[in-house]
Assembly symmetry: D2
Homo-oligomer: 136 residues x 4
Amino acid sequence: MAYSIFETEITVRPDDIDMNNHVHYSKYLDYILMARYDQMQKDYKMSMEEFIKRGYSWFASKVEIEYKRGLILSDKVIVKTQVNDYHGAQVFVNFWITKKETNKIAAEGKVTYTMVSASSGRPIRIPDDIIEKYSI
Amino acid sequence: MAYSIFETEITVRPDDIDMNNHVHYSKYLDYILMARYDQMQKDYKMSMEEFIKRGYSWFASKVEIEYKRGLILSDKVIVKTQVNDYHGAQVFVNFWITKKETNKIAAEGKVTYTMVSASSGRPIRIPDDIIEKYSI
Amino acid sequence: MAYSIFETEITVRPDDIDMNNHVHYSKYLDYILMARYDQMQKDYKMSMEEFIKRGYSWFASKVEIEYKRGLILSDKVIVKTQVNDYHGAQVFVNFWITKKETNKIAAEGKVTYTMVSASSGRPIRIPDDIIEKYSI
Amino acid sequence: MAYSIFETEITVRPDDIDMNNHVHYSKYLDYILMARYDQMQKDYKMSMEEFIKRGYSWFASKVEIEYKRGLILSDKVIVKTQVNDYHGAQVFVNFWITKKETNKIAAEGKVTYTMVSASSGRPIRIPDDIIEKYSI
């Protein structure tokens, strides 16, 4: 069984562009984070604010990203993400960063997020009701 | 009577450079903040951590900056700041961002910082002992 | 005679938020630049690409900004800009950064942009046809 | 045979800190790039400027990073990198981002860099004299 792929459109800002006239390679990670925040609210119906209210937080514990094509200022960017699996405190997420016009992949990869207690910073097993919300 | 001018050296990072091959104009504000944090600890002997421990925080309420010369990746940058005056919750700070090699000014201007209560976010009259520490 | 005020909506990204849980003070300058690029294309009908094709570039030579209210991650931000005047190589632009929901001002100020030759970097008197395009 | 591990010290800037009071996860990629630029000049004796003069450029085509410990504003950060191998247009580099005081690892991983022609953007087999310079 595969989980849903959700999408967020990102507008490239001039400050994202580096000396090579492309979106700087670290900004892709900012785009992924932006997309996850957006999709938590829009698609999973549990925003980051709600996690924080329940005393939880998330951090990225691993990122693998392959850069395929440069993004330029005039590109419209679509960030797609998909939950791949869960294990303990961790959720494994696939992502694809595409150019809207051509639907070609600019970068793809996966991120592992770890749920932690906001007070202690320690990993916490993801509660069942949250797994359920995210298993769509 | 004039207060002391203190200096901080900043290393330009590749991610500071924009599509025009110069340090991006908003990064100058990051350099000023970096210099103030550094000088609070090194020169005024009261670090931001100590302000926070006492329940205070600072925010920039006004910035005026004139850009004179572009900064490039290989430049060594010196940020000089000087307290100009105090009034109530506010401190008025002059700054000069220079190229180390030539001592020429890349940008100059002033920042107004407002002291606030960390809990309420409301402005607080700067306590006398802090004024004294900063009046060097 | 007053020139038109144009608007651009900006989506706050998680990477714009600083340790005080507000949009970092230097990011406001990135929002202003984003708005100008957007409005050059959308409203003035002469995009930055066209300037570059004609051998021109712009840089910000002066910024004055007053911060009035903090912006948070969930805010929708509207950046309004208005040409105030021209003089030689320079255009003087007013801006207002507002919270969309309340229409309250988060920051306001002015930017001076200087037109330069892309090849020499030297200031160039703004050509009449460009003044005309921007005098709406 | 293993290649040398080189080190660069990075000063954390206030604008690197995110809403969780740690260095933002994308800034680690900026630290790695900063370290490579520094070490190209300081250790490999062939700076990025020289590559560009010869008509070459580099881009990161793959990054794998594991985040182990948060970095805070007062941390001194050491970025160590080591060439692992070469293949065609690509060089495979290991990195470790450590806290200077404790020598503990904040993050580690590897980056694949691809050499390209600055004019065409196409991958170019790394010339032997460059392999030699980097095989120390």
